[in-house]
Amino acid sequence: MMASFCAARSGCELFKSLRGSFRTALRIKYGTVCASLPQTNTVRWYSVSHLSVKERIEEKRRAALVGGGQHRIDAQHKRGKLTARERVQLLLDPESFVESDMFVEHRCSDFSMEQDRNKFPGDSVVTGRGRINGRLVYVFSQDFTVFGGSLSGAHAQKICKIMDQAMTVGAPVIGLNDSGGARIQEGVESLAGYADIFLRNVLASGVVPQISLIMGPCAGGAVYSPALTDFTFMVKDTSYLFITGPDVVKSVTNEDVTQEELGGAKTHTSVSGVAHHAFENDVEALLNLREFFNFLPLSNQDPAPIRECHDPSDRLVPSLDTIVPFESTKAYDMLDIIQSIVDERDFFEIMPNYAKNIVIGFARMSGRTVGIVGNQPKVASGCLDINSSVKGARFVRFCDAFNIPIITFVDVPGFLPGTAQEYGGIIRHGAKLLFAFAEATVPKITVITRKAYGGAYDVMSSKHLRGDVNYAWPTAEVAVMGAKGAVQIIFRGKENQAEAEAEYVDKFANPFPAAVRGFVDDIIEPSSTRKMICRDLEVLSSKKQTNPWKKHANIPL
C-alpha cells in the first residue's frame, strides 16, 4: 500500500512541473492536448471546448469504454483476466446492458488527481442493469485498469445507486470484484464509500439476492462487502481475499505465506469457508454464474422460479432401492441420491470442498428451484460439527428468505464429540442450524434415508420443527443413539450384550418408533422419492406460514 502511494505521489510531482506549459498551450490553441503518463507511455486525448457538446459526449463515452487505456487492458489480459466491460458483456444477455453513470468522475483534488489525465469517465467501476436469460439483474464490475480498480467516493456512489435501484424494483445485485482497495488519495472519502456499500449490503440482505464474484484482488475493508452478500464465488489463481496481505502478515506475526495460501480460491473454498465456489477462469466463472442465477428468484417477493422441465415428475429411481448399504456402518454417497432424484441430475453444489460432511446446493424438482441439504455419510459419517452446522444454517436461511423450498436428506449419527468441538463452541454453532430450520416457513420436506440419531435428528428439519412432509425410507433408524451405545446404558452390567443389542436393534433400528407416533408421515419406497417430493411441492406451493411479529430474531451468532 505504502509503495503504491509513494509512486503515485512522485508521479504527480513530475506532472506539476509541466502544468504551466500545458495551460499556455490551451489558452493559445483551444485545440486538443495530449498528456502522456510516464509510467505507461499511453497517449490520451481529451476534447476541449471548441468541440460541440455532442462531440464531447461522444468523446467521453469513447473514453469510458476503454477504461484505463489499451495498454492496461492488454496488461489485464496478460494476467489472464478480462476487463470489467468484457465481464459484464459475457455475464449478461447480448445487448441487454443498460449502463448508468458513464460520465461520473472522481472528485479528488489532492495529489494532482484533479488533472484531466487523472480523470476517467465512469471512474474505476462499470455499473448498470441487464438481463440474464431475460431476467432482470443489477451489476457492478470494478475496473482494474483505472487506478487498479481502487474505490473512490464516486466509485462507491455508483455502486450504491444501482443497489438502491435494485432494492426499489426488487432485482438481484451481482458484484464483479477486481479492486486493489481504497483510493488512498481520497482518504476518508473512500472509507465512507465502503461503509455506504456495507450498509446497503445489509439492508438488501434478505430482500434481493446478492452475489459477489471475486475476479482479482479484494483486500482490507473491501472484503466485507462480499462477506455480507449471499454468495461469494472466486476465480482460481487470479483472485484473492484477505484482510491484510502477506507483507503485513510477515511484519505482524512473522509468518511466511503466499497470496494464494493466505487468501486464494483454494483456501477460501476448502479451509476458511469464506467463498462458496471457485471456477477455473473468468469465462468459466461468468458462464457458471449465469447458470447459478437461473435458480434464484429475483427478490423476496417472488416465488422460486419454475423452469420448463423435461424430466418426468413421476419418474421412478430404482437404483435408490439398493443405495443404502446393508451394514449400517458402511458409507455411501449422498450426492448419488440427490443427483438421481432432482431434475436432469442437475445439482449446483454450494461449498463442495468445505465441511464436506454436509451437502448443500440448488436443484430443480419438476422445474421448480429447491434448496437441498443432506448429511454426507461418506465424510466423517455425516456427523454435524461446527463447520457443517454453520454451512447448513446459512444456506437454509437463504432459501427461507427467498421462498425456496428446502428438501433435507437425513443420515446423521449425531453431533461430533470431542474437546476441539466443545471448545470451539459446537453448542452455539449447532444451535444455528437448529434455529435456521425451526424459523424457516418455506415448504420443508425431509427424507430420512438411514440414521437420525439424537439431537441431530431434531435439528435436521424434523417434524417437530414444522417439517411439512417427513418421510422415512425402510432403512431409516430414528433413535436416541446407535445400538452399541444405547445397550451399554440401558443394559449396563447385563452379561449377554449381543442379545441386548439385538433387542435394541429390533425395537429401535427401524422407522416404526417414529412412524407410529406420526413423527414421519410415511415410510416410502426409495425409488418413489422423486415422485412423492414433486407431488408434495405442488401442494405446498400455496403454503402460508408466518412467525410471530418481531423486530428480528436473535440467532445465536
Binding site: 489472464g80 478480462l82 477455473e280 423435461h310 436432469e344
Partner: protein
Amino acid sequence: SLSLSLSLSLSQTFDKILIANRGEIACRVIKTCKKMGIKTVAVHSDVDSSAVHVKMADEAICVGPAPTNKSYLNMDAIMNAIRTTGAQAVHPGYGFLSENKEFAKRLNAEGVTFIGPDTHAIQAMGDKIESKLIAKAAKVNTIPGFDGVVKTADEAVQIAQDIGYPVMIKASAGGGGKGMRIAWNEEETREGFRFSSQEAASSFGDDRLLIEKYIDNPRHIEIQVLADKHGNALWLNERECSIQRRNQKVVEEAPSTFLDGETRRAMGEQAVQLAKAVQYSSAGTVEFLVDSGKNFYFLEMNTRLQVEHPITECITGLDLVEQMIRVAKGYHLHLKQEDIPINGWAIESRVYAEDPYKSFGLPSIGRLSQYQEPLNLSKVRVDSGIQEGSDISIYYDPMISKLVTYGASRAEALSRMEEALDNYVIRGVTHNIPLLREIISHPRFISGDISTNFLPEVYPDGFKGHQLDANQRRELLASAAALHVSAQLRSQNVHGPLRVASVPVQSNHWELCVELGNERHQLEIKKTGTTYKVEVDGGQVEVCSSWNLASPLLPLTINGTECMMQFRVRVLSRLASQLNSHMPEKVPEDTSSILRSPMPGTVVAVSVKPGDTVAEGQEICVIEAMKMQNSLAAAKQAKVKSVHCKSGETVGEGDLLVELE
C-alpha cells in the same frame, strides 16, 4: 418349437438348483431355471448382497467377504449353502469353480448333481498337457512343438528354443487369456514365465505352466459341443472369437465368415470325437486356432458353459442351460446332428467397464449412475447382472454385459449392433462402447478379414477413439450447437407469476463456437420451429429433434436421416470463445517424472526405493487389477525421489505411486 420347449419344460429335472456364481451368468442361469419351474438359490459375497442375481433368485446365501477366494471360491461355505437350502444340483456358470474337479467331487460325495461334465472329463481337459495327448489320440489336429510342465525360467528358455520362437506361455490350469504371454526371445520368455506363474498362482492356486508354438496371425474359432451321459454328442456349429485384446475376447460372432461347410464339419466332427473320447456330457467348447490355409489346431477344451454361448443359442434356437440341466438329470439328447440349424447370424459385444484408450481396455470402477440397455430395439439380447446404481468393484470381472444382436444376415445383425451400441446408456464408469462401435464398423471386420491380431494391427498406436470424417464432424458440431441453443432457449422459459416481466432474447440466429478436441469450430445457426439450420465448416446441416433435454439419448434427424446421439461437447457463444483466448493455460502435470496408477487395483510389488536410479522402461511396480498383473515402467532414466505406495495397498485410478527426480 413351442411344443418342443413345452414338452421339455414339463419333463421333471430338479426342484432346486444352486448357482455357484455371480453377475450376468448367474442371472442367465436363473432365467432358464424360472422357465423350467426350478427354484433357485443364489450365493453371494457381502458386497454383492443387493446384486441383481441375489434379487432374482428365490433364496440367497452369503458365502463370505468380497475377495473371491473367500466367497465365490470358498467351497466350504458353498457346500454349507447347499446343505442349508437343500439344493439338489449346482450350476457353476463359468470361471470360479466351474472347472474345479475338487468341487465336482465334493458335490458327488454329497449326492448333489454338478451341472457339467463329470470329474474325469474336467480333469482330462482341465490339464492342458493331458488334454493335448488325449486329443492327439482321438485324431484331433494339435499344435506342433507341444511340450511339458515348466518349473524354472531356464527350463522355459530351453523349451522355447527347442520349439522355436515365437512361443506362448500360459498356466496349465487356466482357461481364457489369463496368465498367457507371448515371447519372441529369451528375455521375454523369462519375463513371461515370471508373470504367468504369479498370475497362475493367484488365479488358480496352481502355478504350473506350459509353453507351446505360437501360431502367428491365427483366427480363434471354437466349436460348441453338447453331449449326454449315454454316449451321444452333437456339435452346435462354431463361434468366431478372433477379436481379442490381451488374449481376451471382445467381439464374437456365429457363424464364422471364414469357414466353409466342409471345414465346419471337419472341425465339428473332431470336436465330437474328442468329447466322446473323454465320455463328455453337458455343454462344452472345443477351441481351435485356424490359420489362413484353414488348417485348424486344437487349442483346448472348456468343460463349462462359455461366456459367448448366447450367439450359438441365437443361431440354433437352443437354450444351452436348459440342455445342460436336462443332461445332468440323465436325459437323452432329443436332437440329432441334422436337427442343428444355422439360422441367420448373431454377434456379441462384450461391454466392459474399462478404458479402451489404455491398451484396448484397462479396468475402471465406479457406480453406474445412469444405465439403460437398448432393449427397446428388436432382435437384441442383453445378458447382464447389473442395473442402474450397481457398483463395478475391483473384486470382480469388470464386464457390464454381453450385448447380442441377431438377424437373418450378418449385415442385419451388424446394423442392429450399431444401433444397439448407439442406444446403450452407461454413465459413471468408463466403458468400451467406443471401441466396440469402432470394431464392428471397421471395413476389415465387415469384410470378415480378421485374426487374433486384429486390434494391434488396426490400431498399432493404441485405440484413439473414432476419427470423424468431415461430414460426421459437421453433423456432430451442428447437433451440439443445436442442442446448446435449445438449452439456452429453455433457460429463458420460466413460468410462474412474474412480478418483473422477463425479456427473453428475441433471436433466431446465433453465432457459436464448438470445441472439439483441441479444435474450435465457428458456426452459425438459424432456428425455424424445432429445426435448426447450421452453417458449419463450409457446409449446411439441418438438425431436427424433439429436444428432450432430460434424456441421456438424443434422437436426431440430421439432413433427413434419423440417428441417435450421446456426446459431451463444449459450446460457447462467439463472444465467450473470443474472450476465452485471454484465459491462462493451466500447465499440465509433467508425467515423465511421476508415476500414477493407470487403474484401480492392488499393489503387488514395488521394485524401487527412494534414491534408486532407474533406467527408462525399468519396472517400478506391479499393480494387480481384476486378476491381471500390470507392470508399470519408468518413463525416463532418473533417480527415485519418493515412493507413495507399498505392497498390498489398494490404489485408485490416478493415485500417485512414485515420483522421480
